[in-house]
Amino acid sequence: MAKKKTTRKTVRKTKKKSTVRGGVVSKQRDKETIGKIESLASSVAKSGLAQREPKIEIPIRSVNNMKYNPKKRILEMGSSTQQRELFNAGQARKFMQMLLVSKGCKELIQAEKTLSLRGMYYMALHTIEGTSEKTFNEQSESDTILEDLEVSIDGLREELHVFAKKRGTMVGNITVIDNGDEIDCRRMGTGGYAIPSICEPSVIQFKNCDADFILHVEKDTVWSRFNEDRFWETHNCILTEGSGQPPRGVRRLLHRMHKELGIPVYCLLDCDPWGHYIYSVIKQGSINLAFESQRMAIPDAKFIGIRAEDYDRCKLTSDVKIALNDRDITRAKQIMDYPWFAEKRPWKKEIKTMLGNGFKMEVESLITKDISYVSEVYVPQRLKDGDFLD
């Protein structure tokens, strides 16, 4: 598999020290963030008082304003922005919500506390005076507004002191320091280490890592299989899982381990458009959060499987077939046309084979061969042969 042979990596000393400096850095950062929020509010207030139309400029977060940078091999946000205006019947509510969220974030930073996305929703939630209208109808509304705020003041969610629900697990030959606590990921039992939502260097530092590579699997069930078989021990690696589409914390952690420890990342995902897109998000970044790709994408990540050809190669029975529905087919075709897939022949062939098969397969389908087929035969074989898609 890996060209890099096992050289024990000791983490640089500066990393260790950052525990101490973490607080200072974040204070400095907090100041900057508050400044950004204040300038947003004061521009609104100024134009209001001067009888000019209050506007907020927001970079657009959609496919149209997203570019694939072939050199860096990541998705980047384009330069187009949209105006959010108060005096526009369709935007007025969102305009108000942005100011409410800004206000909430400022208070949060000043109090030196963090809140979950849901907490933020409650913080900005109230009934508008004199009406029965609520400022937010559901959390998804405040979540998108927060993303808008992130891009328009060019500050990250972490910098705004907001975090998402914890999701994703890790186990393996690594020790991390999480908010000052040393955590040995070799001794995490069956549950594993829950990857926090904020994995910035100020919170998490790597202590000593012996792993040769990272194996990222799609979901918890498969991860448990590998953990129970002590795969990370026998193959000297780190085992992570992102509960489907990996959240920002998992992606940030993977990115940092890959960059700072210099170890490769391999992905074991389902053979369906959903799995392919998860791979794409890990590798190039997501369309919605293209502004974060720089900090999260791992352009060198590799795709181990499940491959469309595995049905024949592993001699699976027809029981494991799950027919592709119309949505799967359109989605697969969409993915095939993404520029970062389109330029890769093996990938095009892979998706075409899947479409030709007319069915998808889950990683768990390998259990029909043997309970531990996936961890004892399938993955070791692929690693040995260096057989993966890029």
């Binding site: 005096f87 019947a89 108000m96 800004s102």
Partner: protein, 606 residues
Amino acid sequence: MATTTRKKKTAKKATSSGKVSAETLAKGQREISVSEFFAKNRHLLGFDNPRKALLTAVKEAVDNALDACEEAGILPEIHIRLLQKDESRFKLTIRDNGPGIIRAQIESIFGKLLYGSKFHRMKMSRGQQGIGISAAGMYGLMTTGKPVHIISKTSRRKPPHDVVLKIDTSKNRAEVVKEKEDPKSDSLFPGGTGTQVVIELEGRYQKGRQSIDEYLEQTAIANPHAQITWVTPTNETIEFPRAVDELPDEAKEIKPHPKGIELGTLIQMLERTESKSLSAFLQDEFSRVGQRKASDLAKMADKLSTKTITPRSRVSQLGHAEAECLYKAIQEASIMAPPTDCLVPIGSRALLAGLLKEVQAEFFAAATRPPTVYRGNPFQMEVAIAFGGNLSSEESSRILRFANRVPLLYQQSACSSFKAVVETSWKNYGLTQPRNSLPVGPLVVLVHMASVWVPFTSESKEAIADYDEIRKEMKLALQECGRKLGTYLRRRKQMKKQSERRGIFERYIGEISSSCHAIVGTDPKKLYDALLKQAARKTKEADQKLDLDGKIVSAQKLEQDDDVIILEERQVAVHEDGEEGLFDNDAVPSARKKTRKKSKKKKKSS
């Protein structure tokens, strides 16, 4: 039908037993009277089930009463009372203030099927065949054994005659059971004349669709000049007040148009005519045939015939073959369309007045098409629509169908008007319409066909037959109303948007100024006032833009249209949104209030 099956049976017997004389066969064959035929086929007349029978009886009696009043130039006042005697037996009393019926005619009118003044003439009227009321009486007799009781007063000076009649179905004749002159009944007719009919019959009374209530409600819409009082079996009195104090113009009688008749009818007319020569026959019996046209027709018939036909040919000399040639000649010739002044439409104003009092909607529009012709019969279409208000917006819209002012309640989907409504593309006017069905929304569509001869699909007069000419006219009238509705709806949407927009800005300004205060310490009061000022300016600008687009201008046109009534709909709109108090009251232009006044005036004047 009955006769033919009987014949077959005897014929079979004859073959098996060998010999049967013609006399024996003849014994089994006898004449069937019309009454007997209908006694067996009562569904053809609308007496198929108890509920419908009750409705048909009311309907026939009311139709007759209205026709009689109008012909005598009296504003109709009709009193209907239904008394439940036991579970399935009812006593129906209908009284009008019409001219009354002279004693000598009572037997024929109430006792004989196919007796009437309306079948043989070409004149717009409610009844056509002369089956109605006598059939109702016959049905009553058959189901309860009780005779029909008639009290009629023809003059202020004469006492009313009181007659009890029984119908002999086998002879198509009525038998008088009891009769007297009864001055005591004078109190029934305060106007000096009138008729009261009492029929006991089996039936079932139920409210809802296709009920007596619905029928009377619709009758009141199409006859805003009539005053109707209805006492239900639960002893509830419902008044349908008069909305228009003028009788509709009297319909003129016209002679049939040559193109409107069939060969059989032509032969019959040839036999019955009093004219001597062919030319005279054609000119006397038909409309739109003058001396020239008559001789043209004779010449054309001559070409087709082996015998010579001239305008001076004796009518009595013309045989079957010649009649056929004449018929063909008529079909080929170009003859001017029949006169259409014989039609009396309800009129847009009266239609609107009728709808206004019975349907609680916010928008009303009506359209009357110019008269035209199908198969030689003049006819005229009228359409009115009511939209919004208290009408249900979830269900598909309702169609009220009328033929010569008579509501049609059954067989909607077989009716030409139903097809016309379905074929009209209501999406263009801002309504939703599933494929091949009625539009969905708070809409009532009224379709009225006025004609000297309404082509029904059956004798019970439930659906208008689907002639292309008729359906085309219906659609044109529907489209005319639809366009007005579309204009109104677009405008309403626009207005709602404007007031909403203003509301939205004002709602959020407070939040924004307090947030800004919390973040950078701006004076919230100052910022609030500044933003509010800007909001007012912005909405004003938007309003002016609309003016330039000309949308408001077209809306004004709508208000000046005589065939449109718009009622105050603000209450309704606010309730829908539940955002009371958020709207700026100035958002409703005073023009609408004006219309309301106008519509009230209209009600009175028309």
